[in-house]
Amino acid sequence: MAIAEQRTSPQAAQGSEGSWHGIVLQTLKRNEISLIPYVPDRVLTPLIKNLHADPFFTTFATAREEEAVGIVSGAWMGGRRGAVLMQTSGFATLANVLASLAVPYQIPLIMFVSERGTLGEFNYGQSLVCRTMRPVLDSLALEHHTITRLDELEFITDRSIRQAVTTQAPVALILNPLLTGGKVFDK
């Protein structure tokens, strides 16, 4: 029900507390994650819009996802926490930076991936590239969670951020269409 509301009502984007993006924003803030570089995605639009509107966050687009990973890695070493927002196809560009920067240097890289390619995908390329994501994460033994339920979102996000920071290890939080509504053909 909540999902359907978000998909049909643009007003839902205005920081509504109980929406998936409202919960993500508040959880980031509570964990003092203030630097948010992203490569945009349709599903992430309300989150990105509300992050831009909140002066607590420094939110900006980068040209590539690995650039965003470099930025939050540098910021972490300088004492400021960040997280990267991207789409499945963007994650597919990250194998090298994960294996040569985030993992070996033990950087708590926090990634939010809007999942395309499943549950109603209309673009064959998206469905193919989606299948590379979890094998890449698993091949590096990276922590990742696929979030499908609104009632589990805060727990998974909050605990995963804390774990990433305390264990100095990257984490990928995959935002499934069951949570966000996803992107459908008529959009």
Binding site: S73, M77, G78
Partner: protein, 198 residues
């Protein structure tokens, strides 16, 4: 570009000149390969970070440090081949306008470390023109070593991000960075005052 009236300098020499000017615990990010090998050879500092991979990310990493510590000046050293992999980063930096970030590009037109193959930009593209076109108005070629030092002095007081391009020879790096990523990162964080040693 044959229109450049610039001297061909040496990476280690230029890097040493930069390091000699660092008096205020400025952070320095050394890009992959020879760029950080020469930073290492110029004498390790706690505020140096050495990249052992992720080609092209010296400027983005430096941007992150600059955004995290706006009161500290940050230099990033990058090769021309590396920069070509991540030209979009120049626009990101131009848009964010960090006052404390200076980018230095070591341009020899070749991938020295893999056998000195020409880059696709060699002889056709101009790094400074690309940087200016990306929105970094404060970008210049260093004409010679003295000019490089003058540009670094200017950078120390700059109020906008800047880029200094240096034409260099095809010599390999002088040293070899110790490849211990966890120690490199941890010591860098100590050097930036983010953490205390155990």
């Amino acid at each position: 570009m044959n229109t450049r009236n610039t001297k061909v300098m040496n990476r280690f020499d230029v890097t040493s000149r930069l390091v000699a000017k660092l008096k205020h615990e400025e952070a320095v990010i050394g890009g992959i390969g020879n760029t950080n090998f020469d930073l290492w050879a110029a004498g390790h500092r706690p505020q140096n970070f050495y990249m052992l991979g992720s080609m092209g990310l010296a400027f983005p990493i430096a941007l992150g440090v600059a955004l995290a510590q706006p009161g500290r000046r940050v230099f990033a050293l990058e090769g021309d081949g590396s920069l070509l992999m991540q030209l979009g980063a120049l626009s990101t930096i131009a848009a964010l306008k960090p006052k404390n970030l200076t980018m230095i590009v070591m341009d020899n037109g070749v991938y020295q470390i893999t056998g000195a193959q020409l880059t696709p930009a060699a002889g056709v593209a101009d790094i400074v023109a690309i940087a200016i076109g990306s929105g970094l108005a404060n970008s210049a070629w260093a004409a010679d070593e003295e000019d490089f030092e003058r540009l670094v002095d200017d950078a120390m007081a700059a109020t906008e991000p800047g880029l200094i391009a240096v034409r260099i020879d095809d010599k390999p790096g002088v040293g070899t960075t110790r490849r211990d990523p966890v120690q490199i990162r941890e010591r860098f964080m100590h050097g930036l005052g983010v953490r205390e040693p155990l």
